[in-house]
């Protein structure tokens, strides 16, 4: 039987990488649970309300998008629309060209990962420097992020020290503090030399047109303190209806992502700098990016557009913890990625159609989601889509269920199979030629066969009034 791609990747993962990813994601999950439950009476209700707010936005984007556009314009922001990744990159390039700008510093934004903005600009002769420490390391390594919030969760300090040495950032030193100080010294010159600062946005308020940006390192603040032009690339689903909803979502975002009460820098930006302020952009652009989102909106998986990119579902996912982010072969890894990546892939859906199967459907991702996305349901819908579209990737490693279906639909065959199960109790397991069973029993004891008990119970179960045994009541 052919393994699924994600299993193949996970099997080939270095022990060190697996340990980094496992420890990092577990730490994130533990911190999240502690802060949310220590701080709030009913953190679960916060999630549910936040989910309802975002679902409302998603289902009313036709009203909110023009509203946001009008607010942004009234605040002095130049608004652009980009239907595709190419259009978004082109919009950035034309802003740069119009200013004769050659250098950009950028903060971490997932949508610019989707459009591969940095590569695009570099081909056009523009220096584009990632300023988030993790993203900076990814950039000098020519690597890809493996986590939405912690892009280098798959790397350890020795690997980072080696690439710093290779790229002229000092002699080998793997002390995290030294690594950080060297990046500080290197990047501050980049900020001060840059013409344009590019960021994403975590939220936009439709009420005030304020963009909300959160970072811990202060890099997006530096981008907006040192440069003269600000470009924000924003997915069309980032809207919140009211300013007060920002308070609810901000209370959830940092706690869910990193277990912090609030990220260190939470910026509310509604336009170019104030006239009296000496530092910061005199010009501000917002690019509203679709890049597949309207396809998701038209699908039965539109709930995934609620996502606020906190990474909590990655941290809790048993598959992500073992496989790491690169196994998902796309910008968004983990449970959210297993839904979003195949959908955003558009025509290339079949190539990623195996991702929805990279889940045990345990439901932990739904349970931790700050906007309560029913990820397991969406995964099932996408599995169905993969099957209907006859995707080869989706079919890989699917156990043949035909034999089981025949057996389960014929009482005589089922009874016979139960007897077969009983025989296993009396056989030494190493003689049963099923590799999976041998691997499983290598470290565990197979419990005694209990087959048939349910049928016995079903037949003799206490029934107060058998006349009421409609199919509805026996569920």
């Amino acid at each position: 039987m052919k393994f699924q791609q994600i299993d193949q990747f996970a099997a080939g993962l270095r022990k060190e990488t697996r340990a980094s990813v496992y420890d990092g994601s577990k730490k994130g999950y533990d911190a999240r649970t502690k802060t949310l439950f220590d701080h709030f009476e009913d953190p679960d209700r916060l999630r549910r309300v936040a989910g309802e707010i975002k679902q409302h936005v998603v289902e009313n984007l036709d009203t909110y998008l023009p509203q946001v556009e009008a607010k942004l314009r009234a605040n002095g922001v130049i608004v652009h629309w980009a239907a595709t990744a190419e259009a978004a990159n082109q919009a950035v390039l034309s802003i740069m060209r119009a200013r004769n700008a050659k250098k950009m510093v950028k903060a971490k934004t997932m949508v610019s990962e989707e459009t591969e903005l940095a590569h695009f600009l570099e081909k056009e002769g523009i220096e584009c420097v990632e300023t988030d420490l993790g993203e900076f390391i990814i950039q000098i390594d020519g690597d890809h992020p493996s986590h939405i919030v912690k892009p280098i969760i798959h790397k350890n300090r020795r690997e980072i020290a080696t690439s710093f040495e290779k790229h002229g950032l000092g002699a080998y030193n793997d002390d995290p503090q030294t690594i950080t100080r060297r990046a500080r010294a290197h990047l501050r010159n980049k900020y001060l030399e840059a013409d344009v600062g590019l960021t994403g946005a975590n939220f936009i308020s439709a009420e005030s047109g304020r963009l909300v940006l959160v970072t811990n390192e202060g890099n997006s603040r530096f981008c907006l303190a040192a440069t003269k032009c600000h470009i924000a690339m924003v997915g069309i689903e980032k809207i919140l209806p009211r300013d007060r909803d920002l308070a609810l979502l901000l209370n959830l975002l940092a706690r869910s992502g990193t277990g912090q009460q609030l990220t260190v820098y939470t910026e509310f930006i509604s336009g170019p700098k104030s006239p009296a302020q000496p530092d910061g952009p005199e010009e501000m652009h917002v690019i509203l990016v679709d890049n597949g989102r309207t396809d998701v909106l038209a699908s039965d998986c539109r709930d995934i557009l609620r996502c606020i990119r906190c990474g909590a579902c990655l941290n809790v996912c048993p598959v992500y913890r073992q496989a790491s982010g690169h196994a998902y072969r796309s910008v968004y890894p983990g449970p959210v990625g297993a839904v979003l990546s195949p959908l955003l892939a558009g025509k290339k859906f079949p190539e990623l159609a195996d991702l929805p199967k990279a889940s045990t459907l345990c439901g932990a991702c739904n349970e931790v989601c700050p906007v309560n996305i029913p990820i397991p349901d969406l995964l099932l819908r996408l599995r169905n889509k993969g099957k209907l579209e006859k995707s080869e990737a989706a079919a890989a490693a699917t156990p043949p269920m035909g034999g089981w279906a025949v057996m389960a639909s014929q009482p005589a065959a089922w009874k016979f199979a139960l007897i077969g199960g009983k025989i296993i109790d009396h056989l030494p397991h190493k003689f049963i030629p099923v590799p999976a069973l041998q691997a499983w029993t290598g470290k565990r004891t197979l419990p005694d066969w209990k087959g048939g008990e349910f049928r016995k119970w079903m037949k003799n179960r206490p029934r107060p009034n058998p006349a009421l045994d409609t199919p509805e009541n026996t569920r």
Binding site: A87, L224, A225, D279
Partner: protein, 205 residues
């Protein structure tokens, strides 16, 4: 502006939403939902703020004299101060200090500290609020190793909700919660990544 992309996106959005039999309503939610457990009856905002600021490794100080002592202890004697604040602080600073009231971006690393005014604070999170209107220089509040934000008691909000619903009419508002930090390398906390490694709130009435 690309009008064709605008029309394409909006028409696709309308097309995607048209088949929905009904749209999800906007829920109302009561402010109590996000009240923290630790909330006490009549809390002294400055006391709570100090406690919370320390939890995020920030430092609360009261009065110019205590700031000067602390800076001297750490050997930080070169810095920037908001020109409107300097006349009030100058008397407390001995001649061993070099303090400038314009921030020269050509030599950002010459400043060991930057003193600016805060526009407010949030007690329950230990957050300092900076705005374009109150903060004399974005860079001076960011590039030096030490940032000192001058604050008054009346400016402190008890919780995040109150601060977010009374945001100033300012195009750039920043909530700073402790020193700049990262945990990108093996999850180990390092402070002072791009911004200050020391975040001080100075109460000055």
């Amino acid at each position: 502006m690309n009008t064709t992309d605008r029309e394409a996106i909006l028409s696709r959005v309308r097309g995607a939403l048209a088949p929905l039999p009904r749209r999800a309503p906007l829920p109302d939610w009561e402010t109590e939902l996000i009240h923290m457990r630790t909330r006490r009856g009549d809390v002294d905002a400055w006391a709570l703020f100090q406690e919370r600021l320390r939890l995020v490794n920030g430092l609360p100080l009261e009065g110019a004299a205590s700031l000067v002592t602390w800076l001297e202890q750490n050997g930080w004697t070169r810095g920037y101060c908001d020109p409107e604040l300097w006349p009030r602080l100058q008397a407390a600073f001995p001649a061993t200090f070099t303090v400038e009231t314009t921030f020269d971006r050509g030599r950002v690393d010459d400043y060991q500290f930057g003193i600016t005014r805060a526009a407010g604070a949030v007690a329950e999170t230990g957050t300092l609020i900076l705005t374009d209107g109150a903060t004399s220089s974005r860079l001076a509040a960011l590039a030096p190793w030490v940032h000192i934000a001058v604050l008054q008691r009346a400016q402190i909000h008890v919780d995040l909700q109150s601060a977010v619903t009374s945001l100033a009419d300012d195009s750039n508002i920043v909530f700073c919660t402790g020193p700049s930090k990262t945990a990108d390398v093996e999850g180990i906390l390092i402070e002072g990544v791009h911004g200050p490694g020391q975040q001080v709130a100075l109460l000055l009435e």
